[in-house]
């Protein structure tokens, strides 16, 4: 019998499988960090986890609360600073940026700054933090977010963090390093990638038990949906055991 799991666990397991062994990943707190920790304990024991505040390759005893708290360099290789981490990204040494959710559009651009007028916003969010930096300079950007119509929009109200901007060639034209950009979006309904030619988001796999129409209905733009779409493999017994027992025993993320 297939194990029972929560959707957050599905998202974390699906996301973790994209992180290859021997690579470097810059992560935010919460679900992206859980996915990177799970990958390390499953398929990628030599994955190097980096934090923007300076933590390099920690042996994390538990999920960090902040990307600058002491867990992010606990028994680590190095405790550096922002300048070191970001210039390492800029030199092309960081394979993945792994970011959390926000408003996202069909080119994978992210808004985490404002809703409404910039000078008198309806909602003020934190802004870029390190997200724009990571998504500009790391090779591949992975994003985990909840899949709703209000979050998946045709065009973001404020472009905080670059995806493919306005489409093919736009990142390069803006001066961003070539061959970089969003890679996978992992939601509670599906895994999405980007069409080679148009750079528009497309569905790659749909999670078990989710219907095609559910994905379409939860998306505020015309999503590319191939005729044949795979089902995302559900979390395995060992993934769940490690995620629940070792990565997040306090259920800080998976309990959400």
């Amino acid at each position: 019998m297939a194990p029972e799991y929560r959707m957050m666990e599905m998202m974390i397991c699906a996301a973790s499988r994209y992180l290859e062994d021997g690579r470097t990943v810059a992560v935010g707190t919460g679900a992206p960090c859980a996915a990177a920790m799970l990958a390390q304990k499953m398929n990628a024991p030599n994955l190097v986890i980096l934090f923007e505040a300076g933590g390099v390759a920690p042996t994390m005893p538990q999920m960090p609360i902040s990307v600058g708290d002491s867990r992010t360099f606990f028994r680590g290789i190095m405790a550096a600073g922002m300048s070191e981490m970001m210039s390492t990204c800029c030199r092309g040494l960081v394979d993945y940026a792994f970011l959390g959710g926000a408003e996202i559009d069909k080119y994978g651009n992210i808004n985490s700054t404002v809703v409404g007028d910039f000078y008198k916003p309806k909602v003020r969010f934190p802004g870029s933090g390190g997200a724009n930096d990571f998504a500009s300079m790391c090779w591949r950007t992975l994003i985990m977010t909840v899949h709703t119509k209000s979050r998946f929009v045709e065009k973001v109200g404020f472009l905080t963090t670059p995806g493919y901007l306005t489409g093919p060639g736009a990142r390069e034209a803006a001066g961003l390093p070539p061959n970089t950009g969003p890679y996978k979006i992992i939601t509670d309904l599906a895994v999405l990638g980007f069409d080679e030619e148009t750079k528009v988001m497309q569905v790659e796999s749909i999670h078990p038990g989710v219907e095609r129409d559910q994905v379409r209905d939860a998306t505020g733009f015309d999503l590319i949906m191939p005729d044949f779409i795979q089902t995302t493999p559900p979390p395995s017994d060992s993934e769940l055991r490690i995620l629940r027992g070792e990565v997040d025993p306090l259920r800080l993320v998976i309990g959400r």
């Binding site: 707190t29 919460g30 923007e52 505040a53 300076g54 933590g55 005893p61 609360i65 902040s66 990307v67 600058g68 708290d69 002491s70 992010t72 360099f73 405790a79 550096a80 600073g81 922002m82 300048s83 970001m86 800029c90 651009n109 700054t113 910039f118 000078y119 008198k120 916003p121 309806k122 909602v123 003020r124 969010f125 934190p126 802004g127 870029s128 933090g129 390190g130 997200a131 724009n132 930096d133 500009s136 300079m137 404020f158 472009l159 905080t160 963090t161 670059p162 901007l165 736009a170 990142r171 034209a173 803006a174 001066g175 961003l176 390093p177 800080l252």
Partner: protein, 328 residues
């Protein structure tokens, strides 16, 4: 050099390196006893209207005592470098101390959620905002620390973050590549919490430095709070670990548990209950006002604040959390 594009918002600080040199020319290099009190340091170095930066990372290794004192002295119209700021920004918003901000991360407390009051302040439109990214602000401090008027990076390009900044896109004179040019920022004053300092202001930090090496070199005045004083001989025994030398520092104060309720690596973990209490009371402005009276305005010292928050027993609990003493 060709300017390709410009951000539309205000540059809050003058990036002229010779004006900064003019200031540093006159700054004392004397290795004197710089011990003082938090109250005096704030009175002397953080006047109304000045441009302030806070070390650490939001709720990690922050100089909480200085932030509280800024509120007690009712400082107004401060400029703020909103670099990786969380609880620090939340405190300054609670005191209505800020009227302009260079923002890369504000309003949020990372995984803990958004500050309802900081949101209210920022959504009112009364605080002038210029947008940046965390790295962009680090590069601006680094340029200032290097004594030049700008630094370059490959972030912000192509985004509204750039449009709402005061940066410029330039073309490299060697390769023609586009870069974002980021103006140097010399804050009027920085407050930084460290693990160990001597009475002259020589500092050792353990763990990550975030952007504090750059910040201590960029700021015109530096206030240091330290977990503990050590003798000058202890600094000289291990000069490799000196990250802030005395000639950058104007004031040094011993404040044990000085990053509370934030985390201090190798010392104590963050007090998540107290940080949650902040987020809860902030939902109602009246509740927040009462909370601020209890924990900041009617409090005479940082020691008294620690007592109110659980005192010695609480500190012991947070030390044990940080040290993972209950782990096998």
């Amino acid at each position: 050099m060709k300017i390709v594009e410009e951000g539309c918002n205000a540059l809050l600080m003058d990036p002229d390196p010779d004006k900064a040199r003019g200031f540093f020319e006159k700054k004392s290099r004397a290795m004197t006893d710089k011990r003082t009190t938090v109250k005096e340091a704030v009175e002397k170095f953080i006047p109304d209207g000045c441009y302030l930066a806070i070390g650490g990372f939001g709720a990690n290794r922050i100089p909480t005592s200085v932030l509280h004192e800024i509120l007690r002295q009712r400082r107004k119209n401060l400029g703020f470098l909103g670099h990786t700021s969380t609880h620090d920004f939340q405190i300054l918003c609670a005191g209505d101390c800020i009227d302009r901000v260079d923002a890369s991360y504000i309003v949020g407390l990372e995984a803990r959620g958004l500050s309802p009051n900081a949101r209210r302040v920022m959504e009112s439109g009364k605080v002038k905002v210029t947008e940046w990214t965390n790295y962009a602000l680090t590069v601006r401090l680094r340029a200032a620390a290097e004594g030049v008027s700008f630094g370059i990076a490959r972030c912000m390009l192509g985004t509204d973050t750039f449009k709402m900044s005061a940066a410029k896109v330039i073309e490299c004179p060697f390769t023609g590549k586009k870069y974002v040019a980021l103006p140097a920022v010399w804050p009027d004053v920085a407050a930084i919490h460290v693990h160990e300092a001597d009475i002259y202001g020589n500092c050792h930090i353990r763990g990550i430095s975030v952007a504090d090496l750059e910040l201590a070199r960029a700021a015109k005045h530096v206030i240091i709070t330290t977990e503990r004083f050590v003798g000058n001989h202890a600094i000289r025994l291990n000069p490799t670990r000196t990250v802030i030398p005395f000639y950058l520092v104007d004031a040094v104060i011993e404040v044990p548990y000085g990053s509370y309720p934030g985390n201090m690596a190798y010392e104590y973990f963050s007090d998540e209950d107290h940080l949650k209490q902040w987020l809860t009371v902030e939902k109602d402005p009246e509740e927040l006002a009462k909370f601020l009276d209890t924990y900041i305005y009617n409090v005479s010292s940082f020691e008294e604040y620690l007592e109110l928050c659980g005192g010695f027993a609480k500190m012991k609990e947070l030390r044990n959390l940080e040290g993972l003493v209950d782990r096998l």
